[in-house]
Amino acid sequence: MSVDLALIVAIGVLVACGTTLVLERSLSRILVGFVLLSNGVNLFFIVASGPPGAAPIVGASDERMADPLPQAMALTAIVITLGVTAFGLALAYRTWQLEGHDDVQDDVEDALVIRRAERDDTSASFDEVDASLPEEEGADLPRVEDDVTQEPDGGPR
């Protein structure tokens, strides 16, 4: 089976350039890389689907037609790329508005978790055990001692 070298080169270069840019910090550069990547991957779909052919429209041509299924998938992908890129651009603009640049920063919450791990701490939502027993609603619970240690005379009154 034969395959077109030129398309393979195009896929390789688009994906390589896209990956390089996506690894950047600047969000607008990441988005440029994202569009390059998606172009490359869409081409991949088409190439992988088989040799070129006539447009997949019934009755339009007597030639063997190209595989329509990956085309439908790639079409979906193209439009999704539009939506996601637009969202990314809004994020970039918003970051710039707030921070004065559009660099993707490391997540602050994750840094906190890492610091907790280094300090051998538990998570923020973890309730440490204390000795008292739970109170009941409504009752401002008085001395509920489970043990007689608090009682100097060593027994219930």
Binding site: V15, T19, R25, V32, F44, A66, M73, F87, L141, G155
Partner: protein
């Protein structure tokens, strides 16, 4: 029976509204549901019929709604519904009027009662598990009724974790039992138990872990006293009739089949005895009378499990009798505690004094229930305890076990403790204490005491109805061979060993109570000096350990750095598919052939794309990079055409154009260069990563394209496209018909993305306010009336006029493109994008006011309408008897105009069209008009 469960469910759903309407009296209405269930169940149980109901649910998994009212579930279901009704009735006076959390409580409690009823009626193991976990989750909500208190949250969490852990173990056990026995029905498993292989023994052990954790046996006993953080009616129900009885129910159900396993009796009897003694000892030390009762329940649960696990004919009957007795006296005592709490404002027995005079009815109820708990005639507690003692006395004779006497001695010790803490409870709650001033109490409605008095009376009535109970409960014993003696539940057996033991326990128990001070001191000294294993501390250590592991793991893998995550993905991509790639090429048998290019035009386009992509990476100017990406996009479109994908090419060109302008709209505000930083060594790491990934993907493309073994299914779409898609354009029919589910998902993504864009820029949730309406009568008839808003220096009259001329034509064309998509390249996506571009041009000509004049609608409305149209187009066929998203072809004759060939999937395409337009509108309003607004605001702020 399904009706009963449904009634509980409906009542639970209606409870919030009911509580809003009637406040706390709503509980009286809710109580009718379990009361009616009780009334329906009672004759069924006394008729001693087995009632079954089976409804298929998921037969493939063996999960069916199989309900069975039988020997054991009968008495249990009566307790669940009877006590449930009385407790709900009691709730009508327990809560403060106007409690704002009551609506939730009413719903959860009613649902809990329903789940508990479902649990005892379930015959299918999976259904049992579903109800089992439902009670777990609902009890979590009930215990955590007041979530503002940290202690309540923790108590609820403990109950949830412990019982869920047990529940999961039980599920594993039940699955094994189902698979080994071949039947998911408990009744069939028990009637014909599987061979006791290792797997079956493990399964039974796992199921028992569930029972032991649910019934709060050592070492899981600590969650139950914590769970008394719940409101008192919940405690009453939880401790007496529901939740903790589930474990005993399971033991009782499984005992006929598995009690003869070598370890069953020793393990369960030991656990029961230890729990009985530990609970009793701790109950002796409580000041809080409710906590005292809670530990008493722990002790009693040990006792009940012990009896239920013995598995002889007499023990089975005695165990059920004890369950009934316990439900009656424990619910009474808890409800009395609730009355004390509400009347005196405290539950601390060091502050309670003289209540027997002030609360005579609750006192009487507590004395009767206490007598039943301590085993004093003529209460049912005495009858049941005598029966238990008699059945344990026969243990050796019935089963051949040599340790019957040990068990009997253990029970006697536990019972002595029971008598002592019962005395402590009655004395502590009601007695007049010399050194404590008499309590002041708030008088409560007489209705408040009805429920405990009824339950206490039931303890006495039942005490005299031994023969009747024998006739009902004896059925549970039929599963076992006859024992040494036939058990008779009655007050008077004559002078025999059980009676003597009862007398001994009473005397010693009272002595223990009288000597409470030295006993407490001794206990204190013991726990202080001896290293006591503490299950609760071990549990907390385990929970803390899990926390720590999760934090360490999260800290390791969740670094919070985007390049780190992407780097991980890239490394995996390079290593896993990359290594397979190397292998594949090494095995290459010469099948693979590379052609330079099928069509020479490709080489030119590819060269252009490659050059543009590399230049885009090298570019430091944002705008230049974006333009270069545009070049690669158009180049890709040309490659699509050459490959035979006109639809794809059309969409690609339109998207690329739209995207290019969108980029420019945003980048006009950002600095012209990406970064002022000089390039560093990092850059070369990135470039290397890029080259590696590019190489791997290119290799994969080569490999996948040349190593196809199966016939592609795509070309087979041609036939259905014509026959039931009603068109010729396979790609478009695939999108709107053959694979329409995918498209529906994609539309949702677009709606979310568009909404995200709008909310990021406008920070408003209401989009509608942002549209500037054309004021009526202010020159709205004029051409391009909005353009005045653009400053004259930026006006281009030619651009304006051309836009005017072509706008409507372009919109018409977009609609045409959408409709023609069935036959030629086009469709909803392409049409919507064309319309979006037309709107974009209007925006570019005259700013956001011009855009609002062109499309005076809210983008959210268009998005929602589009999604709704697409969804309806998918759902309507199901109403007409077809499948989801099925389309029909209708030919409508139009007389002289020929015939209209209508394919219903065109409505789906209209939805697509609208969603794409909505996305375009949102993008233009936000990234265009929204940013313009920000610029104008800033200019005004600096006084330009």
């Amino acid at each position: 029976m399904i009706t009963l469960l449904t009634a509980h469910l409906v009542a639970a759903a209606g409870a919030p509204a009911l509580v809003r309407l009637l406040d706390r009296r709503a509980f009286l209405v809710l109580a009718l549901v379990p009361a009616a269930s009780f009334a329906w169940l009672l004759p069924q149980v006394t008729d001693r019929d087995v009632v079954r109901q089976d409804v298929a649910w998921v037969p493939g998994l063996g999960l069916d709604i199989s309900l069975r009212l039988g020997e054991i579930s009968g008495p249990f279901s009566l307790l669940v519904t009877g006590v449930g009704a009385l407790v709900l009735f009691y709730c009508g006076w327990y809560f403060k009027p106007g409690d704002t959390e009551l609506w939730r409580f009413g719903a959860v409690f009613t649902a809990f009662a329903g789940a508990m009823l479902g649990l005892v009626l379930s015959d299918n193991v999976y259904l049992l598990y579903v109800f089992w976990e439902l009670t777990t989750v609902l009890s979590y909500l009930l215990v955590g009724h007041n979530p503002e208190r940290r202690a309540n949250r923790r108590a609820a969490m403990n109950a949830l974790l412990v019982t869920t852990l047990g529940g999961l173990a039980m599920l594993a056990g039940l699955v094994i039992l189902h698979l080994t026995s071949g039947s998911p029905l408990l009744s069939e498993i028990v009637a014909d138990p599987p061979e006791p292989t290792t797997a079956v023994q493990v399964a039974v052990a796992l199921a028992l872990v569930g029972a032991v954790s649910k019934s709060a046996l050592v070492p899981f006993h600590f969650w139950l006293p914590g769970a008394m953080a719940a409101p008192t009616p919940v405690s009453a129900y939880l401790h007496a009739a529901a939740m903790v009885k589930a474990g005993i129910f399971l033991v009782a159900v499984l005992a006929p089949a598995f009690a003869d396993l070598a370890w069953w009796r020793p393990v369960l009897v030991t656990l029961g005895l230890v729990t009985m003694v530990v609970g009793g000892l701790r109950a002796l030390r409580q000041y809080d009378v409710k906590l005292l009762l809670a530990y008493g329940t722990v002790s009693q649960l040990g006792f009940l499990t012990l009896v239920a696990s013995i598995g002889t004919r007499s023990a089975a009957v005695a165990g059920l009798a004890m369950v009934v007795a316990h439900a009656l006296f424990k619910s009474t005592l808890f409800l009395v505690v609730g009355i004390i709490d509400r009347s005196a404002g405290t539950r601390d027995l060091r502050d309670l004094s003289g209540l027997w005079r002030l609360l005579p009815w609750p006192f009487a109820a507590a004395v009767v229930a206490g007598a039943s708990m301590a085993g004093i005639p003529p209460t049912f507690g005495f009858v049941a305890k005598e029966a238990v003692l008699a059945s344990v006395e026969d243990l050796g004779a019935d089963t051949g076990a040599g340790w019957g006497a040990v068990a009997l001695a253990g029970i006697v010790v536990g019972t002595i403790l029971t008598v002592a803490y019962t005395a402590r409870f009655v004395w502590g709650a009601f007695a007049t204490k010399a050194d404590v001033p008499a309590c002041d109490i708030v008088r409560r409605s007489p209705w408040f005491v009805v429920a405990p008095v009824v339950l206490a009376a039931a303890s006495i009535v039942a005490g005299f109805s031994g023969p009747w109970f024998t006739s009902i409960l004896a059925r549970a014993g039929q599963a076992y061979p006859a024992g040494a003696h036939e058990l008779e539940l009655t007050l008077w057996h004559g002078v025999n060993l059980p009676l003597l033991l009862s007398l001994t326990t009473l005397v010693l128990g009272v002595a223990l109570f009288v000597a409470r001070r030295p006993v407490a001191a001794l206990q204190h000294a013991m726990t202080d000096r001896l290293p006591m294993p503490d299950a609760e501390q071990a549990y907390y250590a385990a929970v803390r350990g899990v926390e720590r592991v999760s934090i360490e793991l999260t800290g390791r893998v969740q670094r919070g750095s985007l390049p780190f995550y992407l780097g991980t993905i890239i490394v995996v991509l390079a290593l896993v598919p990359g290594s397979m790639l190397v292998r594949a090429f090494a095995l290459n048998d010469g099948e693979m052939r590379l052609d330079l290019a099928d069509r020479p035009a490709q080489v030119v386009v590819v060269a252009l794309v490659v050059a543009a992509a590399i230049a885009a990476v090298r570019s430091r100017r944002r705008l230049r990079a974006v333009l270069l990406v545009g070049v690669t996009g158009y180049g890709t479109a040309v490659l699509f055409v050459l490959h035979g994908a006109p639809d794809l090419a059309l969409t690609q060109v339109l998207v690329e154009t739209f995207l290019l302008v969108t980029f420019v709209l945003v980048l006009r505000r950002l600095p012209p260069f990406f970064s002022e930083r000089p390039f560093t060594a990092d850059r070369w790491i990135r470039v290397t990563a890029g080259v590696v990934v590019g190489g791997v993907v290119a290799g994969l493309a080569l490999l996948t394209a040349t190593s196809r073994t199966a016939e592609p299914i795509g070309p087979q779409f041609a036939e259905p496209t014509v026959s039931y898609g009603g068109g010729y354009n396979i790609v478009n029919i695939t999108l709107v018909d053959i694979r329409a589910w995918d498209t529906l998902g994609e539309l949702s993504v677009l709606v979310v993305a568009a909404t995200g864009v709008a909310s990021l820029i406008h920070l408003l949730t209401d989009r509608a306010e942002r549209i500037t309406r054309v004021p009526a009568g202010s020159g709205s008839q004029r051409w391009l009336q909005r353009v005045e808003a653009v400053r004259s220096a930026r006006r281009s009259v030619v651009f304006e006029v051309v836009t005017r001329l072509v706008f409507h034509a372009v919109i018409m064309y977009s609609i045409y493109l959408m409709l023609v998509g069935h036959y030629e390249p086009g469709g909803g996506f392409a049409g919507g994008l064309i319309a979006g571009l037309a709107l974009m041009v209007r925006y570019l000509v005259g700013g956001r006011q011009e855009l609002d004049a062109a499309a005076p609608v809210d983008a959210g409305l268009v998005l929602g309408l589009g999604l709704a149209v697409a969804a309806l187009a998918g759902l309507l066929p199901t109403l007409l008897g077809g499948g989801v998203l099925q389309s029909a072809i209708i030919d409508i004759p139009l007389g002289p105009f020929g015939e209209l060939h209508l394919v219903t999937s065109v409505f789906f395409d209209i939805g697509v069209y609208l969603v794409v337009i909505g996305l375009a509108l949102d993008v233009l309003r936000s990234l265009g008009g929204g940013i313009d607004q920000h610029v104008a605001d800033e200019d005004r702020a600096v006084g330009v």
